[in-house]
Symmetry: C2
Subunit: 348 residues, 2 copies
């Protein structure tokens, strides 16, 4: 037990837990990561947009500031992990019906007020930039600088990075987290600090998180362009389809991630027939040649929603930190979250 | 090499190859089955309807007779392999639009002429029998006696039965088949008789099959009723949806197999976005509560189409038999095919 009080136990092996463990281990801490199946949850299912700007909305300026701070840190964060993780071709946002066009106008005006670069595109200009956009799409915005990350390559790189830095993995489910210890089914992991980074499962692990974090289900599809298919977009394409948000995120090799529904249905991660049918129908209204693509995977993940749509990154009690509640922004906020946890642990 | 000339080599580990190998081994023959991945092709993807009657159509009486002969042999065949493989609750055939209703009338008249039991059901009577049928479905037929087989349990039982009877498995791809030998990449399997049962891949294995057998792609979905979902039908439900054929085949435990598209696209087994979207849309028009089901699997298989829609079960040359070209009827015709191959080998 000598030295167990110096150990940091990270509970959760999604992008937040892995980033925190990797950063802590890089600063010389002894780290143990506890998760029955690291790199398999919502971060594995995700689309990987690092898009604070195009997710901006009046009234959510604080969230935007945090996102912008994190996106600034992303290139260095990714560089340290390996090459080819980021796609920096920017984002198009497109509107399918007249009401959707109205929403884009509001967004463009808001982004202008914030001093962000944004270009309004007519239907014709849109198709000059991305010829696969449907002829029925009405208007769009081009937002240069938005990044996307290949979430699966990132998770592999983080796992590998953790291993190289000596992080120890305990592949077991966690029952509860308290000061100085992480309780498993049959044993206990002793530690000086425990970090709860268990995403949608965090609420059940510490009383201070009960009611603060809840599961928000998202369904996603992975498609692949086939020989003879029109190719996928080069940029991330976000769309409003009769007010329903949709995104198409290209990956190297002709793969395209399509998301995402949002349902508040508790711990249910079934992929439903209606969810898949709706996603496919909306996606084909934006990018008609998808009909010919191969459907490679359909999956659902549970994001960690919080009461104010912002993450909880703070002490819950002496010796227990939380880094959870990142909702749709776990990948985006991973660098800033890991840095903040590092500061909190150091200032203890 | 002593005794190699007495050995039968079965090329292909789908339902036909496995049934042939199992039967031959049961009659005392020494059998080797060659397939890189037995029980993984079109038979694994299939719906499992054993439905010669509801597939009947004027002009295809010879096919019907063969199907009826095989379906008669199915209960004993299944009994020998294990219990719970067959579902004998019968079939409903339903029509979605007025033209589909007209087609059902033709089918009912044809079946009547053949002396088959068939009951016409109004929309209301249909829903008394299967309450989940859509309110917009116009009419239907009830065909008692049609069987369905759980294809995946069947394939497992055949694999196990082959093992118990001493069939040897060579898990390698086959390059060609000739009298006395099956050529692999780096070696040869010697035999007295070779049986080509390689489904859609048969055409490339022996010159006499070139042009006789071709791949016909079929896409299938596996759904699962969720807690709170309306349950799946108890019977197999076949439907015509604006002339497109569709089937819903229930499995134990709330699973439902939905098929099947048919495409003539060569050796392409991608599941396409449009294929899945079309199947889901048609299926929901017949059984609306499917929207709430979980989408468990989407897959495509390549059936072995033949030029006259009937299987090729005969000598290609001395020492080389074919048992292929079963198209949509591989599962249905497995017992009669295995028996016929047994006779051909015995009478040699």
């Amino acid at each position: 037990m000598v030295g167990a009080s110096e150990q940091v136990a990270v509970v959760g092996g999604g992008v937040i837990g892995l980033s925190v463990a990797w950063r802590l281990a890089g600063s010389g801490r002894r780290v143990v990561l506890v998760d029955p199946a690291p790199a398999s949850g919502a971060s594995w299912i995700a689309g990987g947009m690092l898009a604070p700007v195009t997710e901006a909305w009046p009234g959510e300026e604080a969230g935007l500031a945090l996102g912008l701070e994190s996106v600034k840190r992303w290139p260095a964060f990714a560089d340290e992990l390996g090459s080819g993780l980021l796609n920096a071709t920017g984002t198009l946002i497109v509107a399918v019906d007249a009401a959707d066009s109205g929403q884009l106008e509001l967004l463009a005006a808001h982004l202008g007020e914030l001093g962000r670069d944004v270009e309004r595109l007519s239907a014709r200009e849109l198709r000059a930039v991305e010829p696969g956009v449907a002829a029925t799409v009405r208007s769009g915005l081009s937002v240069p600088g938005d990044l996307a990350v290949d979430n699966r390559r990132l998770l592999s790189a983080l796992l590998e990075g953790c291993r190289r830095r000596g992080v120890r993995f305990v592949r077991e489910p966690v029952v509860s987290v308290g000061p100085g210890s992480v309780a498993l089914d049959e044993s206990t992991v002793e530690c000086g600090v425990a970090v709860v980074a268990a995403g949608a499962w965090s609420a059940g692990l510490h009383p201070a998180l009960a009611g603060l974090v809840r599961p928000v289900k998202g369904e996603i599809l992975r498609l692949r362009a086939r020989r003879g298919s029109l190719p996928p977009p080069r940029r991330t394409v976000r769309a409003l389809v009769e007010s329903r948000p949709l995104y198409l995120v290209p990956r190297p090799g002709g793969e395209l991630v399509v998301g995402a529904t949002q349902y508040e249905v508790g711990y249910d991660s079934d992929v439903t027939v209606s969810g898949v049918a709706d996603l496919l129908a909306d996606a084909r209204r934006v990018w008609p040649s998808l009909g010919d693509y191969a459907l490679v995977e359909s999956a659902a993940g549970l994001r960690a929603g919080s009461t104010d749509n912002r993450p909880v990154i703070d002490w819950l009690e002496p010796g227990v930190l939380a880094a959870t509640g990142h909702h749709r922004n776990g990948l985006l906020l991973a660098p800033v979250t890991a840095d903040r946890v590092l500061e909190l642990v150091a200032s203890r």
